[in-house]
């Protein structure tokens, strides 16, 4: 295909991505180094014969002129990144100096919004991802042994948790674990504590969010692994059977190694997806116990005071986090491409 033809074919989609993905990223980075203008103050001194009083008022006109002249705000460099709402370097240093044990230090860190969000996001990402892979693998192996007629039905129901809107799915779960809901009731009956409430306990909230995460993403792993199982090398399985390998040994030494590339694929995709956990926190109304970077952005942007600069700084840090998680995928794609050349 000639360059010219390619250009015209690619123009609409390229333009869409340039204007609505690339440009916003630039704009987010710009916004994160500018803060809104502070109102211009005028200090007027009024003197009576006995004393002088200073009065400070906002110069509305000058403020408006300044805002119109420089709509981005005033340049503050990386200040927003280091303030209390984000990396909070001063507070961290202070906590490091004043606390005498690591536990106390981490407790102090837990009060800072960024570190609180990171603690949950990372815990969530690195517990949900391995667990959903194990569950997905188990379902795939089990479904593969079923009769052909049943498979379709089982796959249909298995897809539901993944296809359903994340916010809707988390609401459905949340209403069940509510202390008046069926699972909440069951739990408090189980531990015979009628006052048990998932909503009131940070630990229980984290666990329910993690369970929701596994429930939501396991179907994806299941479908991918199930497709992989259809391409199992039958001759190897037969050879292993002739050699007297037990069922477990066949799974351990043939099936799992055969699926390993798919496990890597699912792990990489899910690490990125789980890192941006957001809807369940809204659905579970869990922001008192667990927050994530995406939730902080959402919270800053919403409401009456749209804190664009703060949200932009968090956005840039989220993008950096995603980029770190994405790098292995890029390396893999690059290697594939090299292999094809």
């Amino acid at each position: 295909m000639k360059h010219r033809t390619f250009f015209w074919f690619f123009l609409p989609t390229g333009l869409a991505m340039l204007l609505f993905i690339a440009a916003p990223i630039v704009s987010v980075v710009l916004q994160s180094v500018f803060a809104p203008h502070e109102p211009v103050l005028i200090t007027a001194q009024t003197c009576t014969p006995f004393s002088c009083t200073e009065e400070t008022t906002i110069d509305q006109e000058a403020t408006r002129v300044l805002r119109e002249a420089k709509p981005l705000g005033r340049f503050v460099g990386l200040d927003i990144y280091f303030n209390r709402g984000h990396l909070a370097t001063a507070e961290v240093a202070e906590a490091w100096r004043t606390t005498d044990s690591l536990t106390a230090f981490f407790r102090e860190l837990g009060d800072l919004p960024f570190y609180r969000a990171m603690a949950f996001t990372l815990t969530y990402t690195f517990t949900v991802t391995p667990l959903l892979i194990i569950l997905g693998m188990a379902i795939a192996l089990a479904v593969n042994t079923l009769a052909q007629k049943l498979k379709g039905v089982v796959i249909f129901f298995s897809l539901l948790p993944m296809i359903v809107t994340p916010l809707v799915g988390s609401l459905i779960m949340f209403w069940m674990i509510d202390n008046r809901g069926v699972l909440g009731n069951f739990l408090s009956w189980l531990v015979s504590d009628p006052d048990l409430s998932v909503k009131a306990s940070t630990g229980l909230m984290w666990v329910s969010l993690i369970i929701y995460g596994i429930w939501h993403s396991a179907p994806f792993a299941f479908v991918v692994f199930y497709a992989g199982l259809q391409t199992l090398p039958e001759d190897q399985i037969e050879a292993a059977q002739i050699d007297g390998a037990s069922r477990w040994q066949q799974v351990r030494y043939i099936v799992v190694p055969h699926l390993m590339p798919l496990v890597t694929f699912v792990a990489l995709i899910q690490l990125m997806d789980n890192f941006r956990v957001f809807e369940p926190i809204v659905g579970f109304n869990a922001s008192a116990h667990a927050t994530s970077l995406s939730w902080i952005i959402f919270n800053d942007l919403g409401g009456e005071t749209r804190q664009l600069s703060a949200a932009a700084a968090t956005s840039v840090m989220t993008i950096i986090g995603v980029a770190i998680l994405l790098s292995p995928v890029l390396v893999r794609t690059w290697r594939d491409f090299k292999g094809k050349m």
């Binding site: 989609t13 609505f20 993905i21 089990a142 539901l160 479908v223 991918v224 942007l301 690059w334």
Partner: protein
Amino acid sequence: MASKTLRAPFSLRLLTNGFIVFWLILAAFPFVWTLWGSFKVELDFFSIADWTNALTGYNTERTYGSPFTGVGYHGAWVQEEFWRAVINTGIVCFFVVCTSLTIGTLGGYALSRSAFRYTFWLLIIALIFRAMPPITLVSGYLLPFFEWNVWGILPTTIIVLVAINQPFTLWMLHSFFQNIPKELDESAKVDGCTQFQAFRWVIVPVMWPGVITTGLFSFLLAYNDFAVTSMLLSESNRTMVPEIAAFLGTTYTEGNVMFAVAAVVSATAPLFILVMFFQRQIVSGLTAGAVKG
């Protein structure tokens, strides 16, 4: 493989079947429970006294004389005007799917037919864009959209969702077009067609399976999106998902949780039907990227 010697021992079959039943309950029970409960009053759906109330509808029967009531649905659809959100979702999904397939097909086709090095870099860039959480882009949109006075209306949201959709659409369609033999359009070009004519008359008639699969995922993205729609739409233009989120704020205080439950069930129903009819395409779409890579 079904020879007698390979049959699993009884205990193992019991274990696997038991596990599948367990998973099916885990996957489907929440939906069944919520669907059933949406026809009850709040005192039954959330019951401290006795959880079986939710099954029998004890309080529902006392209030309305029948164990089932459509009061939640009436409240959501008529009183809170949920139908507006449904129509908005319909409009957004329809235009997002159409636009993103049209421009995505052209782009994906070009990427699959060009042998130059820049196609690889374009795909890599698309992959990076695909990984960006949409919420991080939103703060970049707000300022210009306020400035140009286009915030809050449906067309803006549609364009943004189309753009966010493009990277994924391009990857799907690119790999799909690569499986269509190049000789098809080459021979058309030999016969004197331009590249576009070759695409229009030779490729378009055979591309529908891949386009339908991709379209399904575009639809799901537009339908399920919460971050973009809740930030970019004004109150009167909300689609279903942000509308449900807005319900929560107001209904918890007014004690109309059942409105939200009914709205949630209404929003889930189309997805059920979608999975029912397009299960095969969804599965093939999910595995397309994986099995190759």
